[in-house]
């Protein structure tokens, strides 16, 4: 179950985004993390990224994953997310789990794919700190495509970050610098 039902005011700079802290209650967190630990992850690597990804979790039938999918994507929550971002109604979500280990990274990209309205990432690594790497880093882009890193979000345990997908939503995941496993459930709300 969700512990937090409230979405605070969306920050507009460098593009609309918001962080919901303490998103899940403790018992849900336990069973979700247990379930995610039991999944198989494949190593994915390209010029743009290096990480471990689970199978697509959108349609998997698993008691704990079903609860998580409801918490992130039930009608009530989708309505709150749409209201917070003043977006069009959100019809569905997709989701997968990702693990970043030592040396893994995700370089700048904007997430733009048709029908993606809001991106989200639920952070599930206890006691992560800035020097460990893995921050979600946000860029400001001007009209000439000049970019500047302007915000770095430490992926605090049980925090949910959401941002509006647009041509401005450039972001990256900083390289993991210590021997940790940065676990997230990540996906998009679709229109």
């Amino acid at each position: 179950m969700r512990k937090s039902e409230k979405i605070s005011i969306v920050k507009e700079f460098p593009y609309p985004h918001v962080i919901v802290k303490d998103f899940l209650d403790a018992s849900t967190l336990d069973i979700v993390i247990d379930a995610l630990a039991g999944l198989e992850y494949d190593f994915k690597e390209s010029d743009l990224f290096s990480y471990w990804a689970s199978v697509e979790l959108t349609n998997i039938d698993h008691p704990a994953i079903n609860i998580l999918r409801d918490d992130l994507g039930d009608e009530l929550w989708r309505k709150k997310v749409a209201e917070a971002f003043s977006s069009k109604p959100l019809s569905s979500i997709d989701m997968a789990a990702y693990v970043y280990g030592l040396g893994d990274f995700l370089l700048p990209h904007d997430d733009q794919v048709e029908e993606r309205i809001i991106a989200y990432s639920l952070h599930l690594t206890p006691e992560i700190s800035e020097e460990m790497g893995g921050s979600l880093q946000m860029f400001d882009i001007d009209d000439n495509n000049n970019s500047k890193l302007v915000d770095s979000v430490i992926p605090e345990y049980n925090s949910l970050i959401m941002f509006e997908v647009s041509k401005h939503s450039w972001h990256q995941v900083g390289e993991i610098l210590q021997d940790i496993q940065r676990l997230t459930v990540t996906g998009w709300y679709h229109g």
Binding site: D47, L107, I141, N145
Partner: protein, 184 residues
């Protein structure tokens, strides 16, 4: 004065290079100790070059700009590859920790010959920074850093190249002259 290692100018060697180059999946040869004396003190004047989603690196004039344009080197390229390359541009690139380029940066390119002369003195594979070449339906080609090596790659329209992200843990940076030749 820059001289090609005499071994690479012998007829038998050139014949072999031509055969190896043209039999590779992605036409490619790598020639270690290519010059008799590799430039020792590397102090290129560099400036930052960033296009988000494409590259973030340092760029300057090629250290051996005159040599890459010379008839001596062009003759060598013709014999080693069997092609008729025409000089287009040369640059010196350096990738510091955190720098990268991505494959789609040359998505609009046509057929070309890429030459990379590696001036990276100290390197570990785990720091990344290697060159990556891709071609549809072919295995990607990975070229690790190796001081003094010359790499020659023929890429066609639709083929892509990049230099892989350099780890923030890297204690050094990569240095290379990169030259592009047009192909008829």
């Amino acid at each position: 004065m820059v001289d090609i290692n005499f071994y690479y100018l012998e007829d038998a060697t050139l014949s072999n290079l031509n055969r190896i180059f043209n039999s590779a999946d992605i036409p490619f040869i790598r020639l270690s100790k290519f010059l008799n004396e590799a430039p020792d003190k590397i102090e290129p004047k560099l400036s930052s070059e960033e296009k988000i989603g494409y590259y973030n690196r340092k760029i300057g004039n090629a250290l051996l700009d005159d040599f890459w344009k010379s008839s001596d080197f062009n003759d060598f390229l013709c014999k080693a590859t069997g092609l008729k390359p025409k000089f287009r541009k040369s640059n010196h690139f350096s990738y510091y920790p955190g720098d990268y380029s991505l494959l789609h940066m040359d998505a609009s390119e046509t057929s070309r010959l890429l030459v990379v002369y590696d001036l990276t003195k100290e390197w570990r594979q785990e720091w990344g920074g290697y060159d990556l070449y891709t071609s549809p339906d072919k295995d990607p080609l990975v070229c690790n850093r190796d001081f003094g090596s010359l790499m020659i790659v023929k890429l066609d329209s639709g083929d892509l190249s990049c230099t892989r992200y350099v780890s923030l843990k890297s204690q050094f940076s990569t240095y290379m002259d990169c030259i592009t030749y047009d192909l008829e």
